[in-house]
Subunit: 364 residues, 4 copies
């Protein structure tokens, strides 16, 4: 059923539990001939990793990714690329108490009902630890898109709780702060906010935006392989995501047709309400998504839960958790965007690899 | 590649163009033994159909659906169920002008770039006419869910342009008005609004909500077959959709963890911010989604476009169009919700069909 | 689950029962830009059709195939191509007796156990009538392979019962006789054999061979998408098939390694024991398969069966049946070979579309 | 594209090269609640392993399989089960000479043409080393089938070169000899044959048969998910396989219908020419397949090949090779049979999990 796989032609299968021996993935369908090293992948992993600032969980994994297959002398061969990271800093005893408890806002209750058994250590399979493998696989896709096709993928923190970060947009500065905030003038404010939040013991949500530039017109496919449909699935599958928007997103409800439809001139589109996708197919404009992350449910503030016998319990989550999972989500959103785009590159090449341009392309 | 299929175990493949000879679908994996007639399917189709009020397009298709296979003496046999509707009221000449033009906000430009050829009559494959087959397939899923599993699926218009319909919620009245509005006190206001809109020549967006009750805990699967991930893909694949929310949706960004996490007691959950899904698996609470539809791009108000030679053109869309596609979208959203749920029922039965309850179920 | 679909990137979904209203298929992923007419498809269908000689069943369907979608002005558009044939010459009353009986060698018993219900008219879904849609879809693939890629697919009757047709091989004459026999000198013998067989009331098996020439090296993929693995699945899925061979086939058991391994020289391979596939990937030599068809189980000679209550019955099959289903199987085998090859063309283009030749190609 | 995955609901994805760091697999969709240990899996692996008798390659891998995920306290949890074996006894220098040569009968030439790059060490991805993971995954399936469903899977060597092993059939003795020969009286003869063969430097083919007993009627599905179709794909995907037979197999060509059709009585079927499958669905009789393995192409006897520049070379294969790959193939064929059956158990439960018996089952 490939429940743990995504991608149509570029297929990524992930495995592993938060406190199991290892997490890993198999990337199938990747083209041959691209140089890639474990160090390059690890560099991407460290962008997402915990323990790199005081604003995130203090679990500190080496993220020492190994390439088990699919490359030869440092170059992809076209065979499946398996990546693995052994878990080294799991502290399962933090979770002993919840082995018989269902935490509110967690997958404990649902896994238990589904499978009749669950690995309760650190959230098991439902832990955000899994997202490391998305970032690892995404590292290959990002490199391919950039080097071969001139496509750049970039995400950032657009909003955290009620703080809109819609002022200055300095793309170059995004990686210079632990929040992936594009406005260098707001970092101090964010630091202070996170400091107060951590002290309060509560958590908050966040909105991540991402954009891909350089995508040519024509990627995506009717009807159930639409580029935006695949993006929605990819983003909603990330832990803690509750909403996905493309282009104008939810705001389209309040728009007029004359406002939303992106007019076209020989010199370019006059707007990008569509977010670079019309009829499920790319327009050549930047592909733009926004992804909403809920506040972390793992809190030291007590909450009402039940135990495996159905009895009420007061749940206090120990373990090391992020007060805002959205903070580390930017590299994950970027990875998913890159993987979906590369998948659609392959889909397009398969079906339409010899279609000659029939019509001029509008500059973007 | 099954680009035009969706569903993992209950797989629906649709085909057909707006002004081609017919539209249709093949439903594969449907369980044997359920009685179904073309008349029952048609009844659902008419809820979505155009030409039934002055607020929608005046194209009037008979929606005379035929069952070509998969039933015997009125009962499903387990073999693929093919449905077909011949198009009878297409007026292709309305589109002659746009055969060489790309309309703003339409898939004309993207299809042309992708395929080098397009069926420009009525939008071809990108027309919302395709959604009729979702409703047809959904009719079978809804019946199965209701009769066999006690699951009810219900959608409604929650917002149109800037009109929030969040007052009275009279579920029984939803089908009594052409808007699928749950508040019977607001119908007059909506009529007046639509009247003004039609006169203006412009169009507006809408937000549709849907809810499924009776879903047991345990449906959905990690990681890329999450119930909410599949819902996001299903909804975003509907024409004109720009955002999908589950539970609290976008609002989760502004929430605190203590506010969002749904506390549990032996008497039930204290809230449903999760929208009935945790870790991608159903909780037993109602599954809740919201879907944003953009304003129709087909307007008689002129807009700037380009033609196939890259020259600027003023586009005035003829043909018969909905001033708010969201108005007819409720049955489509319901259908997609039903199909995703039934798919996950089968997925769950496949892998966990013999899992004994290990823990009490919280009442919902 | 797409149980009724095959092909990875070129996906064909078939539907329909022998005596239902219609049979049909949806072809998804077909490239845009190829001219095709219903008449061309019908011409292929008539090669497989019954009622064209006295050696086959006398059911006489018009095979009046309609193209319901996916073409525009006679050219494929890249959207799903739906084909349908309405059944016109079904005689269901011939089957009344078996509505409560399980015929030996038929799928009656297995369908009934699986689904608890079955369409017993003419074998329902398990009828060879379904194979018409393989031939229809294959007609498009054959045209594409021939016109775009210079690949020719050709099948023939290699053996019927104990009659080996391994003498003269006159490819041009294959379509000149009702047996698809490549040796024009043996037609008389076959006519006489079939005449005796028909009189006896019994049936016989047959071996069909097929070959594709012009396939470049490099199609196919490790490990579970091997070209020969996909061919085996495609052929074994045809009704009545009990064995599939590639290249030397079963005979490889008795060979020595020095005999089987196809030596290579700059002037070409010295043999083709591999049947054009090594490691699941094409070598550039002709791709060669052989497919064994069992004798028809539908006989007027009485056989022991049971009824739905488990009671013994003497079964005498009425209806119109082929004394050797293998006779009409050549176009089906050709169609499946063409479809698998075209699928692998797309797979190869997707992953390796920009691989430059690194090494000279051996002439074949 | 999941080129390296097989199975519909029970999906196995393998990775790894013969001389890469490791081989492994991910098993997705496995039901929760079954106890399994690495030791149990390793026991199966050792049945297939080289270096255990003088009749096979002398490469001696520890087959020290690790379970990286998907179990908790020794029990499957329903999440993906990843298995890995690190390669420890690769001797890549044996292959230096062929790094620029294409060996006759090998995938060297085809991989090079496809990907433009290949891992030539030990055959890379095309090595039979990959089949270890089939056996590992098969170990889980065999245990599930046996413990939960009472299904037993058993394979054996039926023929090697021209030696038919069709005399005594002592199932219990199959695992007592290095050939998986069911006739204990023939072991001495086989030893002598292999001794002569090894001295000659040549290799031979073999035929492996396998049978599953206890399969209930009703598994399999029309049309492209037929049980025998899936078996054919599974078997043909094994390295060196050139033919697959179900039931009577190729011999059906020479049979009469009255001979082939398995008559049914209330006391059971009178024969099993069908090999336990009718219309692609199991009959309840033993499921029977035969699989033909070609002679090893890796020979120390010189053969003609070409190099990467297209120049003629005399190829002498060093490295450690099996003079008859079929000898170790029995556990692989058993594994594939078990995996396909378990997959179809899940498929059947998904679609027909609540079908009540409508008709008595014939004893088998």
């Amino acid at each position: 059923m490939a429940l743990n796989s995504f991608g149509r032609l570029l297929t990524v299968t992930t495995f592993g539990e938060s406190h199991g021996p290892a997490i890993g993935c198999v990337i199938d369908g990747f083209p041959p001939g691209m140089a890639i090293t474990a160090e390059e992948i690890r560099a991407e992993l460290l962008r997402r990793a915990t323990g790199r600032s005081r604003h995130t969980s203090q679990r500190r994994e080496a993220e020492d990714v190994q390439i088990l297959s699919g490359t030869f002398e440092g170059v992809t061969t076209g065979t499946p690329i398996a990546l693995v990271i052994y878990n080294t800093d799991a502290r399962s005893k933090d979770y002993n108490e919840i082995s018989r408890q269902f935490r509110p806002g967690h997958a404990d209750y649902t896994y238990h009902h589904k499978y009749g058994i669950r690995d309760w250590r650190g959230g098991g399979r439902s832990s955000a630890r899994e997202t490391a493998m998305r970032v690892a696989a995404g590292a290959l896709a990002r490199k391919y898109l950039a080097e071969r096709l001139g496509i750049r993928v970039r995400g950032w923190l657009a909003k955290i709780h009620d703080i809109e970060l819609d002022g200055r947009f300095d793309e170059a500065s995004i990686d210079d702060n632990p929040f992936f905030c594009p406005d260098p003038d707001r970092i101090e404010e964010l630091e202070a906010f996170m400091h107060r939040l951590r002290k309060s013991g509560d958590s908050v949500g966040a909105l991540i935006r991402a954009r891909a530039t350089g995508v040519p017109p024509g990627w995506g496919a009717p009807i159930y392989a639409k580029l935006d449909g695949d993006l929605a699935a990819a983003m909603m599958s990330i832990n803690a995501v509750k909403a996905v928007e493309v282009g104008a997103g939810l705001a389209c409800v309040g728009q007029l047709g004359t406002e939303h439809r992106d007019q076209m001139t020989p010199d370019g589109f006059l707007s990008n309400q569509a977010g670079g996708v019309l009829g499920g197919i790319s327009t050549g404009q930047p592909v733009e998504v926004a992804v909403a992350f809920k506040p972390t449910s793992s809190l030291r503030l007590p909450g009402q839960g039940v135990d495996v016998d159905g009895q009420p319990v007061e749940v206090v989550t120990k373990g090391r958790h992020d007060p805002c999972v959205g903070i580390r989500a930017t590299p994950i959103v970027e990875a998913m965007l890159a993987l979906v785009l590369m998948d659609h590159f392959l889909i397009h090449r398969a079906q339409c690899g010899d279609v000659e341009p029939q019509t001029p392309r509008i500059p973007t």
